[in-house]
């Protein structure tokens, strides 16, 4: 395979193995941050839409993408950033929701809030499924998550906030 030109399909396959460092059950593709991939004889172009402005993982993700594609045989990797449209949890697939749940993180409930509507959530517990849960803190270990607790099984859990 030496000197073979990497196709877009191969590039997507390589990217499917690049995990988010903070939520290691989701790949960067499942998270929806890889927006576009194009490949030609000179290399691979990847367009990334960052999640939160304050997400410290953004730089790590960029270098992981680069590394994965070079390892898979890309001649050169160019990663660029696209801000608009802004990243939204609406881009998470149903499969991604299921993976989050299995990992003990409640997936976002409903679409991202718009306008000035009040944002109050009561996500069901990802462990026992109970709807009797309460919020402990609006921000969890990362900006994208909040900390909740199940009133029935008493387990604390993280909630992936819709944005």
């Amino acid at each position: 395979m030496v000197n073979a030109v990497m196709t877009e399909q191969q590039a997507w396959q390589a990217l499917a193995a690049v995990m988010d460092p903070e939520v290691p059950v989701l790949s960067v593709c499942e998270l929806g941050i890889v927006r576009d991939v194009s490949a030609d004889a000179t290399g691979v172009d990847v367009v990334v839409t960052p999640t939160y402005s304050g997400c410290p993982a953004t730089r790590v993700i960029e270098s992981s993408i680069r590394e994965a594609l070079l390892d898979a045989g890309a001649a050169e990797v160019r990663v660029s950033t696209r801000l608009a449209p802004a990243w939204t949890t609406d881009w998470l697939s149903e499969a991604a929701h299921e993976k989050l749940r299995a990992h003990g993180i409640a997936p976002p409930v409903g679409d991202a809030p718009v306008g000035v509507q009040v944002i109050r959530f009561q996500p069901p517990c990802p462990r026992c499924g109970s709807r009797r849960t309460e919020r402990l803190s609006a921000f969890g270990a990362t900006a994208c998550k909040a900390l909740h607790r199940c009133v029935d099984c008493r387990e604390p859990f993280e909630y992936f906030k819709p944005i």
């Binding site: 402005s53 997400c55 801000l83 449209p85 802004a86 803190s137 609006a138 900006a143 906030k161 944005i163």
Partner: protein
């Protein structure tokens, strides 16, 4: 001379950066672990927004300055943040009250900038609006909880409100830079955001049983580069490493 366009973007960038730096002072010093983490997360968002805006301002300026040069190598008088953001934190009540007053303003501003003729600025605003909504909700919850809390917490919140409220007037003062960018469709004049801001903060303050003090003629002028005595000290901490070891990287 900076164009009004650069100046306008810098005002927003610097306000986010300086507020982010202030909030980061609570990292490891929050009153409880959850709030330590929440405030630090908000600080990271503010700094992240500032990075995008500073990078953009540097490109508009066209003098080859990047986000780091703008953040770490400008002197006090070159910063364009509103004075409110550079005031010392004070107690936790004052921290969340400032966040509430200023994120309520930012929410109006981001909404106004979504239609900017500067598409990069519009993109940054649309993205930031989503984050600011969570910052505002977090601080509004605390304003109500502390304002409508014990005698002690209510008293502190009332004191914080009378100290911080006058600094918000700067955000809504008539201004030449604003007029210029509004005329060219690049920005929204901040003075036009006051009515929406008052509508947004009023009900929360009422629920918190807090009453704003009467308006006064006092106008801070941080966004014109005239700062309080506090900014220099903040910059000394923030810029120390790059000033002592120019170009240091890790």
């Amino acid at each position: 001379m900076m164009t009004p366009h650069v100046e306008y973007v810098l005002r927003i960038a610097d306000s986010s950066l300086i507020l982010g730096q202030r909030l980061s002072e609570l990292c490891g010093h929050g009153p409880v672990l959850e709030e330590d983490i929440a405030i630090t997360n908000i600080a990271l968002d503010c700094i992240g927004q500032a990075r995008l805006l500073l990078t953009h301002a540097g490109k508009l300026e066209g003098a080859g300055r990047d986000e780091d040069q703008l953040a770490f190598l400008r002197n006090e008088g070159e910063f364009r943040n509103v004075t409110l953001t550079e005031l010392p934190n004070g107690d936790f009540g004052r921290v969340v009250l400032r966040n509430f007053l200023f994120s309520s303003f930012l929410e109006q501003l981001w909404a106004g900038l979504a239609a900017s003729a500067d598409t990069e600025l519009a993109a940054i605003a649309a993205k930031s609006a989503k984050e600011t909504r969570y910052h505002r909700e977090h601080s509004a919850d605390w304003v109500v909880r502390l304002g409508d809390g014990t005698d002690e917490s209510h008293g502190r919140m009332a004191q914080a409100l009378s100290a911080l409220w006058p600094y918000m007037a700067e955000c809504f003062a008539a201004d030449g830079v604003d007029d210029a960018v509004a005329a060219s469709g690049i920005g929204v004049a901040w003075s036009t955001l006051e009515a929406g801001w008052r509508q947004a903060v009023g009900p929360v303050l009422a629920e918190a049983t807090l009453e704003p003090p009467p308006d006064t003629p006092f106008r801070s002028r941080g966004r014109c580069g005239v700062h309080s005595e506090h900014l220099g000290h903040l910059l000394a901490v923030m810029q120390h490493l790059q000033r002592s070891h120019p170009g240091a990287r890790w």
